[in-house]
């Protein structure tokens, strides 16, 4: 874990960010900030999760955000049924969504390119229909979640959620980085570049793609598990929100998909800009901003911000 200098810097930064976040809960009482940062963290985690399948493996898809919704609803169902505490709900969502990622991957991964993207979109719609008709979790009416008035260690429940989300997001970034630098990560990159050649170079492409969908699903599920407690009311329309899904795709594409830091940069940039615009200008304009940035980046810098920086560094070196 601490083999190189980059490793040390990485883990030190993660620890520092977590401690700073924890420190804020001591000095800052205004709940708005926690709500805003929670939204950015959630977007970051979804971007990181999407990127594992869409970026590292090259399977661009519209369905990943469906796993976020399943994660949220798994938490709702487990909470209602067994009354489990939040950490167990998160673990439960990770397991359910990871297994679903595996199953869905097995069904759809024989499709490639745009066909795969459409199949995953269809799948998200199927899942939404299932939830809309499942009475136990409120069906189309939606479901209210009661959050405790008093929480240990923190001033309010949103502070607790913020710290939990911060830890989860940093954890997902660490997983993504480890994966990117591993033998499996290099195998996924080979699949992204040329699947037939990868297979002939000995890469077990199906197994690796299933690992990719499983991790993606589990991570999306984890991102979704605290969501019902954050918004306190969930219905299928908000959980399967298309805008949330598009965000999870736009952020990695703008940040850069080949490197683990791409989706993090994209999410912080877009998520931050969206929150700022929502507060200062209008809550509708931020949708337009994402659209314009996406168009600009896809036409001018298809490798995203990471690609731009790499190009610039190469030019400087010689």
């Amino acid at each position: 874990m601490f083999k190189t200098r980059a490793d040390k810097i990485f883990w030190f930064t993660l620890a520092a960010v977590f401690l700073v976040g924890l420190g804020f809960t001591e000095v800052l009482a205004n709940e708005y900030y926690y709500t805003a940062v929670y939204a950015i963290l959630q977007a970051t985690m979804m971007a990181v999760a999407w990127n594992i399948l869409g970026g590292f493996t090259g399977y661009v898809n519209f369905g990943s955000a469906g796993f976020f919704a399943i994660g949220a609803y798994t938490a709702v169902a487990l909470d209602k049924w067994l009354g489990l505490p939040l950490p167990l709900l998160i673990v439960g969502s990770a397991i359910i969504c990871g297994l679903m990622g595996l199953g869905v991957g097995y069904l759809t991964l024989r499709l490639k390119g745009v066909y795969f993207a459409i199949a995953t979109l269809a799948l998200a719609i199927v899942l939404e229909t299932l939830i809309t008709n499942w009475d136990f979790v409120g069906a189309a009416r939606g479901v209210y979640i009661l959050t405790p008035e008093k929480v240990p260690f923190f001033d309010s429940y949103i502070q607790l959620l913020f710290v939990v989300m911060l830890a989860l997001t940093l954890g997902s970034i660490a997983v993504s980085r480890q994966l990117n630098d591993s033998r499996i990560g290099r195998g996924l990159a080979a699949i992204r570049d040329d699947e037939v050649a990868a297979e002939c170079a000995g890469v077990p492409t199906l197994r690796l793609k299933l690992i990719s969908t499983t991790i993606m699903g589990a991570m999306m599920g984890v991102a979704g598990a605290p969501y019902p407690f954050f918004v306190t009311f969930v219905d299928p329309l908000s959980a399967f929100n298309l805008f949330v899904a598009v965000n999870a795709i736009a952020m990695p594409l703008i940040g850069g998909t080949a490197h683990w830091i791409g989706p993090v940069i994209g999410a912080l940039l877009i998520g931050g800009a969206q929150e700022a615009i929502t507060v200062t200008i209008s809550s509708e304009l931020n949708v337009l901003v994402v659209g314009i940035m996406l168009v600009l980046f896809i036409t001018l810098a298809p490798q995203g911000i990471v690609g731009l920086v790499q190009k610039w560094m190469k030019r400087r070196r010689g």
Binding site: R183, R186, G187, A189, A190, R192, D193, D194, V196, A197, A198, E199, C200, A201, G202, V203, P204, T205, L206, A258
Partner: protein
């Protein structure tokens, strides 16, 4: 002939109503150099797809080093020592030349490679191929001939016992053809059996110890290059009656 490393037994392959391969029999000795020729559409690429596992034959079996590999996926065959290069180069474009070779070393040749020696092994292959200076260049920017060399280098990095080279020389200049030929001969000298598909007759005749001719999915001739070019069947397949 030494003990066969590859046996193709009665292999047939159909695409819908079209018979691409019809009951093909083929044996290849360890470290033998075989040229596979035939007119366009005669089934050469289909046959090597069946050997490397990209396609599964409908009937018959493929035996490699005494083991039936007919039902194995391409990556399992690669791990056992079957490597192939593609007619149209398929480099891993986001990677450098060296990183391209790391993939087969870390996957296909994993059991035959020490982890600490991966980069050294990759450099050895690049040295043999003549791409050492390009090791850290991005693979997407290579010239056509270097792209072909990378294709061969990546196949070699899998440390194969059998290399199937699918038109590694098409479109290259005469001196470039000689370069590739030299690489393939050097490889063969290290004990790797080679099946070469090629339209450039000068290259095949200079390289192969034995030629197999396919026409319309059937094997119509199998023998030394000198015998094959005198065969009336082969002449008919290429030139018509």
């Amino acid at each position: 002939m030494s003990a066969p490393i590859l046996q193709v037994r009665g292999v047939s392959k159909h695409f819908g109503g079209f018979t691409a391969l019809d009951d093909i029999e083929l044996e290849l000795g360890a470290s033998e150099r075989l040229g596979l020729i035939g007119p366009n559409g005669s089934g050469k690429t289909t046959l090597i797809n069946c050997i490397s596992g990209s396609l599964t034959n409908d009937s018959g079996s493929i035996v490699f080093k005494g083991e039936d590999i007919t039902r194995l996926a391409p990556h399992q065959r690669a791990a056992r020592g079957v490597a192939r290069s593609f007619q149209i180069p398929k480099p891993f474009r986001s990677m450098t030349v060296l990183e391209n070779l790391r993939i087969p070393l870390e996957y296909a040749a994993r059991r035959r490679t020490e982890r600490a020696r991966i980069d050294d092994d990759a450099m050895d292959v690049l040295e043999l191929i003549g791409l050492k200076d390009r090791a850290n260049d991005p693979s997407a920017g290579l010239t056509q001939v270097d792209m072909r060399k990378l294709e061969l280098a990546r196949a070699l990095a899998a440390k194969p016992k059998l290399l199937v080279s699918d038109e590694a020389m098409a479109g290259l200049s005469s001196s470039e053809v000689d370069e590739i030929l030299k690489i393939l001969l050097a490889l063969n000298a290290r004990g790797v059996a080679v099946i070469m598909i090629e339209h450039i007759m000068r290259a095949v005749m200079g390289f192969a110890q034995r030629l197999v001719v396919l026409d319309a999915g059937r094997k119509i001739a199998d023998g030394t290059p000198e015998d094959i070019i005198r065969s009336p069947d082969v002449e008919r397949a290429y030139l018509g009656e």
